[in-house]
Symmetry: C2
């Protein structure tokens, strides 16, 4: 099991369904939906070329950035999704180590969810049929104006005078139809990536009342949580998770 705590015999760690933590998260989302930033999550990676030894160069630093939560995957609601640009640094980070953690703070209800899991980056080179479909669906859900960002100059590179025109979207922003013509639903831009995170641990902290719950997915006999996709098999899924109440 993926706990970082010792579960003593006296501890009430019980089996549960993913529905329990998903319902807690859904409740927090509903309670905070009036706040636009309740849809923003922070994603941490260990950083590409992470090394513990060298304190003098860039290696060994974790990376953390804010992304927009794009919903759970319809066909597997334990997978969190967000989108990114193929040229962004996080795609390189995930290529080195796809373990990541998501932090979600809900200001109104004063709750924090930390979701840990394995990221799968679906690029234009992905060959898996389901991945290709998921990426395409995700592209269609983007607002037309947001789609155009994937045609911008390479993120993180020095900004030069010749780049300016690309960012001048103000002239179009009032007119979504023009965006729709420029970046149509049916033409997924090559830099567009869908990231799905297969969550295997959730640390839920409620500052109101000082409550904390740790949910963790039990490993299957192959010891690989990533191959579990039993959302369609409710009976099996019911026993796939453990929950334990922790000291905050």
């Amino acid at each position: 099991m993926a706990h970082n705590i010792v579960l003593s015999a006296s501890t009430a760690a019980t089996k549960c369904s993913s529905q329990v933590w998903r319902a807690a998260l859904k409740k927090a989302m509903d309670a905070n939906k009036s706040l636009p930033n309740a849809k923003y999550i922070q994603v941490a990676t260990t950083g590409a070329n992470a090394s513990m030894d060298d304190q003098n160069d860039e290696s060994g630093f974790p990376a953390i950035r804010t992304v927009v939560f794009r919903g759970f995957l319809d066909r597997d609601p334990t997978k969190v999704t967000f989108v990114t640009d193929k040229r962004s640094k996080k795609v390189g980070d995930f290529a080195v180590n796809n373990k990541c953690e998501i932090c979600w703070y809900f200001p109104k209800s004063r709750e924090q969810f930390r979701l840990r899991g394995f990221a799968n980056v679906i690029t234009n080179e992905s060959t898996d049929e389901i991945d290709i479909r998921d990426r395409s669906i995700s592209w269609k859900k983007m607002r037309p104006g947001a789609r155009g960002q994937f045609a911008w100059p390479e993120p993180g590179q020095p900004r030069l005078p010749e780049h300016e025109e690309a960012y001048d979207v103000d002239r179009l922003i009032e007119n979504e139809d023009e965006f729709e013509n420029m970046w149509p639903k049916d033409n997924v831009l090559e830099n567009f990536c869908l990231v799905t995170v297969d969550v295997n641990r959730i640390d839920h902290l409620k500052l109101k009342g000082n409550k904390r719950y740790l949910y963790s997915r039990e490993q299957n006999s192959e010891g690989d949580t990533r191959s579990n996709n039993s959302a369609n098999n409710e009976e099996e899924e019911k026993n796939e998770w453990m929950v334990c109440e922790l000291c905050p």
Copy 2:
């Protein structure tokens, strides 16, 4: 230099003072001060025992959590501070690798600051005189009720019936004087830690207007940014940082 980009000859990377990014951050804080959560920052570490090889155990996961920003250090305004419990997992994470990244999202002005640096955890065992004083000052600034949390049961351990009494602070919460008597200013609890992060890179993204700036501290001749503490030497400090505009 600690850039992760190649600065070409045509790039306007210029020397600057830390005052430039500190002013940008101050401006964002002022613009968002009506939002209580504008004081919450997310801190990422690479996690204790990080290993890239083993995908089946807990190692190799970054960790990310929300903490309250406790201001910059008076004697060095390039150091971000927050507090933590000595028994919390992040203290162990920092002991293995003190490189960290802070993400600060400001909802109202739609700005993100990513601050990267080296954490220094000041515990009750710290022997450095300046550290001891910083920790004591920080303790005094805590609200009396918040001080009591450092006497709570060990965070992250399974919660047991005998723990309940500790969290029952509702009976006192109306009366700050009682807290002040229980957890006085002059008695720093042993689990109380002050964390100072010596920032050496700031990635500032402004979603309004699609602007992005990267500030990075130049390494001194010893290649160690941590020993730089030239806030008192304004002439020297002016030339210590570089700033470059990036593609968002």
